[in-house]
Symmetry: C2
Subunit: 835 residues, 2 copies
């Protein structure tokens, strides 16, 4: 019997029987058999019923391949009839017998004959006379609705149950629901026909559900309930009427009342864990003191419990480490890195946007970066709500607990920075309207929030919630660390982190990144009074003046790099030279320009003229990256000097640092050549000045299609090529990530793009450029180091692609490093098992 022929439940029951657990007589109908039932070809009912005794009472349960795919509800007590009722009245008393019959008639009428449920209300009574009246009414109602008496033949009843379940499976709603969970269009349904263990009657009768771990933490702990005189899973919803399983000061327990059954259940739990290699939830019945095991399913569990259970099974030698690794979804790890809204907490959703950076945070609404900073200074948690964020908002983002933007997509500024900082972030919340004058936010449905009101950003779901729902804390526990340690044993591709600041670098170390794959230096120019100096440099009239200002920025940059090198302690650090257009550093409103004019002692008109002159139609495609490096070479020279001096200083105190310097936005070989000449000259100068020799590597960020096409030339001058898949995706599609948000969801819904290419690497288009770039890069320099450092870096699809292409490493936000390490291990294990 296999899950692919008879379904998971049938398979599991078979295994329980082999373990000699007391499972009642069970007959499994295969997918094919049930499919035939759906088409009107019934199995041999006599043959089925022959497995059971005379006047049997039966249950039928669904058995699909994956329990997540759903299926029709169980039907119990099939076989009840006037005759059987009379018999039961004698055996278990009239009241309970009538209640069972009535319940069966009701469920048969509603779920099998599909009659109006209102006509079959169950009375809330245990009084035998009332129950009898209700039964009579129900039988009459059945006859009135169907023009036939209620069927008395178990064979007829069972046939109809099977038929109705087979048909329910093929209904459109059921199909759509299971397809949404990944079921194939032709997913089959098996059915399990089982003798009832009644659970109702004299002596110790009842039913219950038991599991052996805590569903939230994964720690060993018996949980569940037992309800005497009950069937099925009633115990779970019986509230105070139900009994504890293990001895408990709060009330009576099964352990005390039926110690033998308790001992068996504990034994069965241990047995099923070892032999089924999983933590199971077991459904059981006691009938006249005799224990029956009716069903067992895998314990539902939180992400945290998933990790804990997998690690414990491997540590106990029950499953190999590979299997433990395969059992945890990488996305589950990401959840554990952040606080989450308690899934059980009520949610008052204000607006929905794009889930851009996972985790949840609560705070008071602030509408400007300045307000965020003063809120943080007061020690008050705040959520920064903006139309969109710009580099000027960085300090505000650092100060905030979470960020919400009206505009932008999964790779907008707010999203990228949010993920880098591990800051919960929702972007593209189009339905928000920010009224800056009144300091209010309008929400669809006429609600209005004011600055200072408390909201919660759920960056895992994309929801913005009112108030402060209950939270679950992050869980970087021992199990988490153990699992990732195992992942590193199996994976065969490097994982680095994108880290711009010492805080990022420390996160990168915490998550055991093997180095920094992308350090974006531009953020360093917004800090403290540096932006003032940047602006002074932008307004400088000559290379000489620019150099004077840059000389003042240099020690600050050197400090940044020194800190990074120290934190990374000899692990590689790849620094991208200055990338953004200069106008990003200029103010864009009148007030800012007035301030700047005062600061620089220039007429306002000069400042506005310069700001206007530097404005660009398409900043993404403008004067930035290496284009700035070539037209304003002083900037790169300053950065190279700061990098080399920092490397020399840190190397003196410890392991030699070999900095990696990366040139952004290259589109032609000659750009690399020109920058290389200058950087080499700076290195020679620093060697001369310090008397210290040092190595460094110069490489190229491949982010224009042309750089990928010309990678063979470019690799002549580049010891590494790192593919910036964000920009490469933008240019390959001709699609700005900042502007795509407005129609991307419509595009994905209509299937125009199978997925948001900023979220999932577009293997067909962008991937082909990566492939070409890698092949050509190797043709130009066989030992060239290849990597991805875009937002895709942490995703399974990208890692899979990079492994296939023999890339050396991927680099992603620090908070995605754990998932990336796990994905890489899973891919390696998957390949090994195929081999």
């Amino acid at each position: 019997m296999s899950a692919g022929v008879h379904g998971g439940r049938a398979k599991c029951l078979q295994r329980l029987i082999r373990l000699e657990m007391p499972v009642p007589v069970t007959v499994a109908l295969s997918f094919d058999a049930v499919h035939n039932v759906g088409c009107g070809r019934m199995p041999d009912m006599a043959e089925i019923l022959g497995h059971f005794g005379p006047m049997p009472l039966l249950s039928v349960r669904p058995s699909s391949q994956d329990p997540d795919w759903g299926g029709p509800g169980a039907i119990l007590n099939i076989g009840m009839s006037d005759l059987c009722h009379a018999d039961l009245c004698e055996r278990i008393g009239e009241g309970p017998a009538t209640a069972l019959y009535l319940r069966f008639v009701q469920s048969y009428a509603v779920h099998v004959a599909r009659l109006d449920p209102d006509a079959f209300d169950l009375p809330d009574t245990a009084d035998a006379t009332e129950l009898k009246a209700a039964l009579r009414a129900a039988l009459e109602a059945y006859e009135a609705e169907t023009d036939e008496p209620f069927p008395q033949d178990v064979s007829v009843q069972l046939s109809e149950v099977l038929r109705s379940m087979a048909r329910a499976w093929t209904g459109t709603t059921a199909r759509l629901l299971r397809e949404a969970k990944g079921a194939p269009a032709d997913a089959g349904l098996g059915l399990v026909v089982q003798a009832m263990a009644l659970g109702v009657g004299p002596g110790d009768c009842g039913s219950g559900v038991i599991q052996y771990v805590n569903a939230l933490t994964g720690q060993p702990q018996v949980t569940g309930r037992y309800l005497s005189q009950s069937q099925g899973r009633d115990a779970l919803t019986a509230g105070e009427r139900a009994m504890y399983l293990k001895r408990d000061p709060r009330g009576p327990s099964l352990e005390e009342s039926c110690p033998e059954a308790w001992a068996d259940l504990i034994r069965f739990g241990e047995m099923s864990r070892r032999r089924l290699r999983e933590e199971m939830q077991i459904e059981f019945t006691l009938h006249e003191g005799k224990l029956s095991i009716l069903d067992a399913v895998c314990v539902q569990r939180s992400s945290r419990a998933t990790v804990r259970i997998a690690v414990a099974l491997a540590e106990d030698g029950i499953i190999p480490r590979e299997e433990a690794l395969m059992r945890v979804a990488p996305s589950a790890l990401s959840e554990l890195l952040h606080r989450q809204v308690d899934p059980g907490a009520p949610r008052d959703r204000l607006v929905k946007g794009i889930a851009a950076s996972p985790g949840a945070a609560t705070g008071r609404i602030v509408l400007t970066a300045e307000a965020a900073q003063s809120s943080a200074a007061r020690g008050e948690a705040c959520i920064l709500v903006r139309r969109e964020t710009t580099p000027e908002d960085i300090r505000g983002m650092h100060a905030a607990e979470g960020v919400v933007t009206m505009r932008g997509g999964i790779t907008s500024h707010a999203a990228v920075i949010g993920r880098g900082l591990g800051l919960p972030c929702v972007v593209g919340a189009n339905d928000l309207v920010i009224d800056r004058k009144r300091k209010q936010i309008k929400i669809p449905g006429g609600r209005t929030l004011a600055e200072g009101d408390v909201i919660t950003v759920d960056g895992s779901s994309g929801d913005v919630l009112a108030g402060e729902p209950a939270m679950l804390e992050a869980a970087l526990d021992v199990g988490f660390q153990t699992l990732l340690g195992w992942a590193d044993e199996f994976r065969d591709i490097g994982v680095r982190a994108n880290a711009d600041t010492p805080a990022d670098a420390r996160s990168a170390r915490t998550f055991a990144a093997e180095g920094i794959g992308l350090c974006r230096t531009e953020h360093m120019f917004f800090e403290g009074d540096r932006i003032g100096l940047m602006r002074e440099m932008i307004f400088a009239d000559s290379a000489k003046e620019r150099r004077t200002v840059l000389d003042r920025l240099m020690p600050m940059q050197r400090g940044d790099f020194t800190a990074l090198f120290e934190i990374m302690a000899g692990k590689p650090v790849c620094i991208r030279l200055f990338d953004p257009p200069l106008h990003e550093f200029l103010p864009h409103d009148k007030a800012g320009m007035r301030d700047l004019a005062e600061g620089l002692a220039l007429p306002l008109s000069d400042v506005t003229a310069r700001v206007e002159a530097l404005a660009e139609y398409n900043p993404m495609l403008g004067l930035r990256g290496v284009r700035l490096g070539i037209t304003v070479p002083e900037i790169y020279e300053m950065q190279a000097r700061a990098i080399f001096q920092a490397a020399v200083a840190v190397s003196r105190r410890g392991d030699p640092v070999v900095p990696e310097i990366m040139i952004p936005l290259v589109s032609a070989m000659r750009e690399v050549e020109l920058v290389k000449v200058r950087v080499d000259a700076v290195a020679a100068a620093v060697r001369g000045e310090t008397g210290v020799d040092f190595e460094y590597r110069l490489g190229v960020m491949v982010e224009t299609p042309r750089a990928a096409l010309r990678a063979e030339d470019i690799a002549q001058h580049a010891s590494f090529l790192s593919f910036g898949t964000n920009d490469l995706t933008q240019m390959t599609y001709g699609l700005s990530r900042d502007d795509a948000g407005r129609f991307m969801s419509a595009y994905v819904q209509q299937g125009v793009y199978p997925e948001d290419p900023f979220h999932t690497l577009d293997v067909e288009g962008v991937g082909e450029l990566l492939k070409m770039g890698a092949q050509r890069g190797r043709a130009g320099r066989p030992d060239v180091t290849l990597s991805i450092c875009g937002e895709h870096g942490g995703s399974r699809a990208a890692i899979e692609f990079c492994r296939e292409q023999g890339f050396d490493y991927v680099s992603c936000s620090p908070f995605r490093v754990p998932a990336a390490r796990l994905s890489a291990a899973q891919l390696a294990i998957g390949d090994a098992s195929k081999a």
Copy 2:
């Protein structure tokens, strides 16, 4: 003797000698021989001098491979010495003999011995005594400067002349000058040593220059001058002292004074035209009535004359048509399509920008599109000067004679529209400052111009000139038409025009384009009151409302297409569906928004909010093209309906029209599929409504790298693929054409890019995507039609590329069609001659 060994002049002289013209004894020194002279290895002087009589007088002239590459000036009268002077005094008189000697001493001292020219002033006198004193002074000055007497030996003189000429050729200035004209680094210099025909003495003595065509028009016309008692080319600068050649009422002529020599010259002219297969300019000398032919060079000529001469030579059977076609540079044709500033006119240059659309125009400065329209309404020619142009300026551009912008590059809006309209245009004139308040323009150097001042735009050179210099009119004469007719016989690739308006379409017909390769429909939405409707549509709240507004736009669009189909009379018309982002149609300043709010009866805040909401960071990469077509499908449906109805209407009156519909900005196959479904539905509806069956073709504009990569899929649903190389170049490089202007010239100067890729197709990068796209497109649909429709379409490099790749046609601005036809013919002829 070949031009590649002895130089063009030597070769030509040899041919004149073979034609038995009276060429004085001539010895040619090869490139190698001269190279040796430069290195100090002199030829056998006795051997050279052996060709001439005793006491020879010689000239030396340079003979480089291409006369354009320059070379040292001729030195005449080598051999003059005290002895020779005495002899000449007897033969031609003391005054003339002394003048000759003095002149030789002067030119030898300055050009050969490199002495200070001030010490060797020539006196303005014919008085023998004064001349003698001057000669004495010159000889003494020579001796004083060099500590040696003036050399008296012809062998010494000639050696020194040869040495000095050989060295001059290798000097840096000379080398840079000729390399700028395309000479290779190792270009050689030959030298021609020739016996002097004196031209000075008793009887009919003198020299002159004659040519047989008008240098400006190319029409047959004897021009030139003769100056008695002169040498070399003195006649050309002698003013009134010189004689006409042909009988002329204005003064004496060679025809009258020496009818035999005249007759010989006419005969030689005819002979050289037939046998040298060119219009030559001949340098001649009469000495004692005897005619000598000293030199002949190709007549310098205007572009117009180039065409006329080539056509006439072919029509006279002297050269084949192929050769006539090869002799005309395609760029020369473009000049003929436009008025030009007379090359001889003085130029008062105000500022220089990028030559963006050829031709010249004069008019009064206007600073707004409205001012341009009112100026045109008053019948006053105007030049529109703007920071940059936007689609809102279209009507102003139509009204202006020329356009100047501060910003933008060769493919900026102003440039593209300018070329489309054949409107002279200079863009990127960075040094201009427009003071809108004062309605003034500030020019570097402190000059200020006011609105209303007259300026001239020279879109061929990039100059903006003050006032109104003399102009040459356009010249679409018979020769031009004949030549292009021949081009069409030879070329093997189609040439279509990009045409948006009936005026464009008429230009396209005038220049014999084979159809419209790109009709950009967005311009149609700016005309008249259409922009008002567009804005109403943008503000519509539902698809239904949008459709209502579009229903009002539809008849106007239908009118546009009807006009185009009628003008093109059955030739294919490829219409690109709506492409720009919607915000291009909204006002961007407060005043415009206020107007719009009033017009739509909406609160101003609603209008500003909508304008803000539609703004994009990178409009180039935003919600436009097919992305709009899919998210706001009503627009494409309206356009398809207008196209089909127009096709039905025009087909009823004449040849069936098979419209081509092109989808812009495609990046995924599914986009094409979705649009195709809707367009097909509209076609079915129009067929039903009109009862007329019609065909149409649906294709894709390939302008994102991804569309090129996925061309195989895309071609499944596209019967043609037209590569939009503008956008494709922008995306492949990650470089916005509008923003590139600021650094492109620096980039090209530093050799970072070999050429501006918006100007010359980047064959290595963008070209590879074209190649891939073409191959994959064919793989997906073997009969797919392939073409280029970007700005590159008309360039030789792009046509060469497209021919190699087997494209069906190129499409370019109407005014570039003639050059494209010629380039295509030249490429085909070149291939045939190689085969």
